[in-house]
Symmetry: C2
Amino acid sequence: MSTTEQDRNISSSFAKGLAVLAVFDAATPSMTLAEIARRTGQDRATARRGALTLVQAGYLRQQGRMLSLTPRVLALAGGFLQANQFGRRVQPVLNQHAAKLETEVTLATLDQGRVLLLAQSTTERGIVTYGFTAGAHIPLAHTSLGRMLLACLPNEDAERAIIQADIPKHTEQSLTRPEAILEQIDAARSQGFSVTDSEFEPGIIGYAVPVSRPDQTPVVVGSSAPRGIDAGRASQRLLQGLQVCAAELRQTEAVNDL
Amino acid sequence: MSTTEQDRNISSSFAKGLAVLAVFDAATPSMTLAEIARRTGQDRATARRGALTLVQAGYLRQQGRMLSLTPRVLALAGGFLQANQFGRRVQPVLNQHAAKLETEVTLATLDQGRVLLLAQSTTERGIVTYGFTAGAHIPLAHTSLGRMLLACLPNEDAERAIIQADIPKHTEQSLTRPEAILEQIDAARSQGFSVTDSEFEPGIIGYAVPVSRPDQTPVVVGSSAPRGIDAGRASQRLLQGLQVCAAELRQTEAVNDL
DNA sequence: TGACATAAGTTCGATTTACGTACTAAACAT
DNA sequence: ATGTTTAGTACGTAAATCGAACTTATGTCA
């Protein structure tokens, strides 16, 4: 008879606790209890129980009044990475193409209205971009990876995602009108690749092509590089290289239906 | 009056749910509900609530009756990796030394009586070993990484860890007597490095040196390579290279007190 | 086909657990 | 010294979890 109709199959305490764990991201690597409570929208006492449970389980660490993630969270990801043979099948492919194309190559999928980086080639040289790693989130609207991912979806889903996303102006070149972005996504869908220029990081051109087959979970590979002199020829070469990389990844069967 | 005195600061439902998430590892990448219940030791109904909550939160995926991890678990690890600047500071160092030494280089720490791989250099060539990735667990007793990690601990802690660990005979060469293994750990402690030969993977020699300073959380770097002809000279070169690598990692301050 | 084994879904009352308010105390900043 | 943010504690109540028992579905072997 109460207003709160509760699904008996779902453990609400558990869901709240997970929200506490998920609130630790790149922007806020360590937080106080009060901050956790605020960001999760939970009562302070509730957030405290969740956080202390995570400390006891070894996923959070308490130093003074600050809480931060422990390496143990990596073990959770390890299950996924090993199940899909990222070490053996995916990473070597990315590295080979990265070396050949002399850029970084990134594998990504959709997650919660953002791009989730799944794997990143690592070259011998330092890292060009922000130093994103697997598990990092980047925006959908202003990256080649994001637009290509949206282009893998039915039109209406892509529209919904863009409308719901907030569109900050990362750089001077960032497109801000949703219609303009959707046009780019349409173009990516028909062309089979997407390119963005300085819309997220100034001076960086990003490329992306699809890996997933239609009706699978969208997965894409991309690369970003500083805008060079001979951008046209470089584009051709990069896009062709990425297409080959995507084809090889499809053959590994490792990234099918993530 | 009941026998179970319960800490009001800990959410037991949450802890049980976390146990469900943690049960997905390399050995069992996808499981049925009944299997989860068995492996967590939880009641079937309890395990079911936990698993369904994880599905709703997007960390598990249900295909038929099998449950498996989704890429979203990577986002949890992403928080840790970005907080400690693995992409910018750690990975480039590992890659550089891997290229120079022509092996793989692995960064690892202790977790739950096993070695937890934190990061792995990736060369352009394929991967030599099993294809372990960050987040993977390998045994303490028979790997150079594990012995070096234990050598970072006080003697009594190392002894306790070895006694509690089960010591399977992975290869013909695997040491089985706890005393013999502890001797090796002592040697590693006084020498400042550890070497194992074919005790985990046949024909592979592993090397490891400490990264963490005394009284910090143990962290080590290591590398493994097939046993070559000129093992002696190669050892010298590898160990020196790893020492330099460890020193550089210390300077980054990224892996201090994980 | 039938019998058996394993897995999944459902129900429900008793009990435990988590909730959140209210209060105290400590740390910090102005 | 004063206001502000944060943490820890306590506890009555409301709500969620527990787990046993049962039913249904799926798959397996003779």
